[in-house]
């Protein structure tokens, strides 16, 4: 039943945007064909997966936070923090050469995760200590992280050989994620898959996962059960921010190859959408991110082939989100009705 409702929600998003297409003299069938072309073409599918990796990592991290009812919107900022940390490591290692090349990436992954975690713990501590609204603190920290990252790349970390253009020196080969042969997909996808399994295990099999859910269901029940709210929330945000930081690293080491101003295309916010659309289920998130990546690629196909505005993809995304959310109501409503 709930599957039928999900399907109906998605369909209604199609119908509403179909109406918009018709109004703007666009053949909706052709438009949808183009929007989903990436799932029929292996080159485009590979691109969809490339987009999906950072979205996946952010969404998986957020899942944990949302399960604890900590409504973080800080993925975007944490992506920037991850980008800052990996760039720092690259620049630092280029000067000091402490790490042998093959060891660099494994150690970098750990460092990026840890330092991004620190950034994520700040709003968690503020929430635990002062009950500040986490939506707003995480949102504000997004702007701060982005500005710091841009400051570094325009100022101290600017490539001295880059004709003054704002970007860091290029990352050396040992600081790049190797591509999976024959595709454009970089190997950070395995971090994403590993993270999905890890989040699943944490939530389903560990005591900590149980505590997360108790905290998420009811603050007072958690207190009654003797669960430390601040411990749970801090740990949850540490993991969440760490994964988002790895998303930033995946963008720089996997795709861009150097630090650039405003380097995240809003994946931190897309991750929020994906996390909710996939009902906070780690495995569905892996598929959902690829679906969304395909949608992003499809949006470009749509522009390229039909001359449609980039705004229409946003409208479709938003409609999809709203109808899916509305579907949640009908799932619950059904339960009440049976009783």
């Amino acid at each position: 039943m709930s599957f039928a409702i999900s399907l109906a929600s998605i369909l209604s998003a199609f119908i509403i945007s179909g109406i918009i297409f018709v109004f703007s003299n666009v053949d909706p069938i052709l438009a949808y064909y183009n929007l989903f072309r990436s799932f029929t073409n292996s080159a485009l599918l590979s691109e969809a997966v490339v987009r999906a990796i950072p979205i996946m990592l952010v969404a998986l991290g957020l899942t944990l936070a949302y399960k604890a009812n900590f409504i973080s919107v800080g993925g975007e900022g944490q992506i920037y923090v991850g980008g800052i940390v990996i760039t720092f490591l690259v620049l630092w290692n280029a000067q000091n050469r402490f790490l042998p090349d093959p060891l660099f990436m494994p150690i970098a992954i750990i460092f990026v995760f840890l330092f991004s975690s620190v950034w994520g713990i700040i709003p968690a501590l503020l929430k635990a200590r002062f009950e500040t609204n986490e939506v707003l603190t995480t949102l504000m920290m997004n702007y701060i992280a982005q500005i710091i990252s841009n400051y570094l790349v325009i100022g101290p970390w600017k490539d001295p050989k880059g004709y003054g253009f704002p970007h860091s020196p290029p990352f050396p080969e040992y600081a790049r994620f190797p591509l999976i042969p024959g595709t454009t997909i970089n190997s950070s996808i395995f971090i994403g898959i590993f993270a999905a399994i890890a989040i699943y295990v944490i939530l389903a099999k560990t005591k900590f996962g149980f505590e997360v859910k108790v905290v998420g269901d009811s603050y007072s029940a958690a207190k009654y059960a003797g669960i430390s709210y601040s411990k749970v929330v801090c740990l949850v945000m540490a993991i969440s921010a760490g994964l988002s930081g790895l998303a930033g690293m995946s963008l720089l080491s996997g795709v861009i190859g150097r630090l650039r101003p405003d380097f995240s295309p809003g994946y931190g916010y897309t991750g929020i959408i994906v996390a909710w659309l996939c009902n906070l289920n780690p495995f569905i998130i892996v598929l959902g991110s690829i679906f969304f990546g395909g949608l992003l690629v499809g949006g470009e196909v749509l522009q390229g082939s039909m001359g449609l505005s980039v705004g229409i993809t946003d409208v479709f995304q938003a409609l999809l989100l709203i109808t899916t959310l509305s579907g949640e109501f009908f799932k619950r409503y059904k339960l009440v009705w049976r009783r």
Partner: protein, 416 residues
């Protein structure tokens, strides 16, 4: 009972909401001009001649086509090329973030593009990688320094750019002729060599025409650290006028905000002037618009797609200046005129610019067509008094591309 009620209230609310959405959609439809909005590009081709050839050009834009400067200008160039070349088909992808450039390129190739233009500095690495991967296709990247011609990329990659510094010099001539306070303001995007040499050229021009009036020129700079920041541009422009007493405002920012600020001063009876940037913005400031720098990417795009069509590709590193892509390049020094031709040219000149200065602008324009005049010709000192160019020495490509100093007359030191 409550289920029944909540269901009824739900239905009522749903009807209400749907009605509202319908009204809203209707309004939106009317607002969009009866849905005449973007047009579908259908390829109507009667393939009677089997061997009819076609070039498909893909464009990767960094902003939306509906921005106010950079991407808008590129898309106008694309439309120009499409008009000139009947065998050309174009496909665009807009608002592409840097992290997505390879994807956007692949998307366009997947749709049959055989030449790809990427129009942001941040797309350089991605374009070079794609060129490596697709040796049978052609690529051209705007505003970077990698190309087969330069020897740091495969031969199927060209680089192109339209350079404004000569036009900024001409803007400076106009500014120096109309300023009453002798103070000029510059709202700069990001302190990189490109913007710095634009500021410097502007200052050099202003000093030349102000000297004839016996005036000294002071220039104050405000940095935004962003290419798009209308709010910051508004504040910077207003502060320059009020606090620093500037009465001519030049800018590098992707909206017409600075010109609009100048126009609002003109409305209040205060004479403040500004310029066009990228495209003719004289409508934005009917009174305040002095002149300005305009780019026409059209001829450049025609050149590239024709190379592909004629199978005469050669990797180039083009830096289009005054005189390039012109129908007639000979300088006419006896009867000089400013022409609206080539890849870069001036916006219409405001009649407040005195006759003799307009003649000077036209003379310099003609001289620059054949490199008979170079704004950066020594003696030029920087703002700390160090000699940067000796008497008669002309700035080279490397000096222009690495410029990290301000000429004498600028009051604001560079950040850091």
């Amino acid at each position: 009972m409550s289920v029944e009620k909540s269901r009824r209230s739900f239905l009522r609310d749903a009807a209400f909401a749907l009605g509202g959405v319908a009204v809203g959609a209707g309004l939106g439809y009317v607002a969009a001009g009866g849905g005449r909005a973007p047009v579908t590009q259908t390829v109507t081709k009667t393939t009677t001649q089997a061997a009819e050839r076609k070039v498909v050009a893909g464009f990767v834009y960094v902003g939306p086509v509906s921005d106010y400067g950079w991407t808008h200008a590129h898309d106008a160039g694309r439309a120009y090329a499409k008009k000139v070349c009947p065998w050309l088909e174009t496909k665009i992808v807009e608002s592409v973030e840097e992290a997505k450039v390879q994807g956007a390129i692949e998307t366009l190739i997947g749709q049959g593009a055989n030449i790809i233009f990427t129009t942001s500095f941040g797309f350089m690495e991605g374009t070079a990688e794609a060129a490596q991967k697709h040796p049978d296709l052609y690529f051209a990247h705007c505003s970077g320094y990698k190309s087969g011609a330069a020897g740091n990329a495969p031969q199927n990659l060209s680089a192109y750019f339209a350079e404004f510094y000569q036009l900024y010099y001409l803007n400076g001539l106009a500014a120096g002729a109309v300023t009453e306070t002798g103070v000029l303001g510059y709202v700069g995007a990001i302190p990189i060599p490109e913007v710095i040499r634009h500021i410097n050229a502007f200052v050099l021009g202003a000093k030349e025409s102000a000297k004839a009036r016996g005036k000294n020129i002071k220039v104050y700079v405000q940095w935004l650290n962003a290419w798009f920041d209308p709010e910051g541009a508004n504040k910077a422009a207003t502060s320059l006028v009020e606090n620093n007493n500037a009465d001519v405002l030049a800018f590098t920012e992707d909206t017409p905000t600075v010109l609009q600020v100048a126009e609002s001063y003109q409305k209040k009876g205060k004479r403040v002037w500004s310029f066009s940037h990228y495209s003719d913005m004289s409508k934005e400031g009917p009174n305040a618009h002095l002149t300005g720098q305009i780019v026409n990417w059209g001829p450049i795009y025609v050149d590239f797609v024709t190379q592909v069509y004629a199978r005469s590709w050669r990797s180039v590193d083009i830096w289009a200046r005054v005189g390039d892509y012109m129908a007639y390049k000979w300088a006419n020094l006896q009867n000089p005129k400013v022409e609206y031709d080539g890849a870069v040219y001036l916006a219409p000149l405001n009649p407040v610019i005195p006759e003799n200065v307009r003649a000077l602008i036209a003379l310099r324009w003609q001289q620059m067509k054949e490199m008979l005049f170079e704004p950066f010709t020594g003696p030029i000192k920087d703002m700390d008094g160090n000699v940067r160019l000796k008497d008669g020495e002309r700035a080279t490509h490397d000096i222009l591309w690495n410029m990290d100093w301000h000429v004498e007359g600028v009051q604001t030191p560079l950040p850091k």
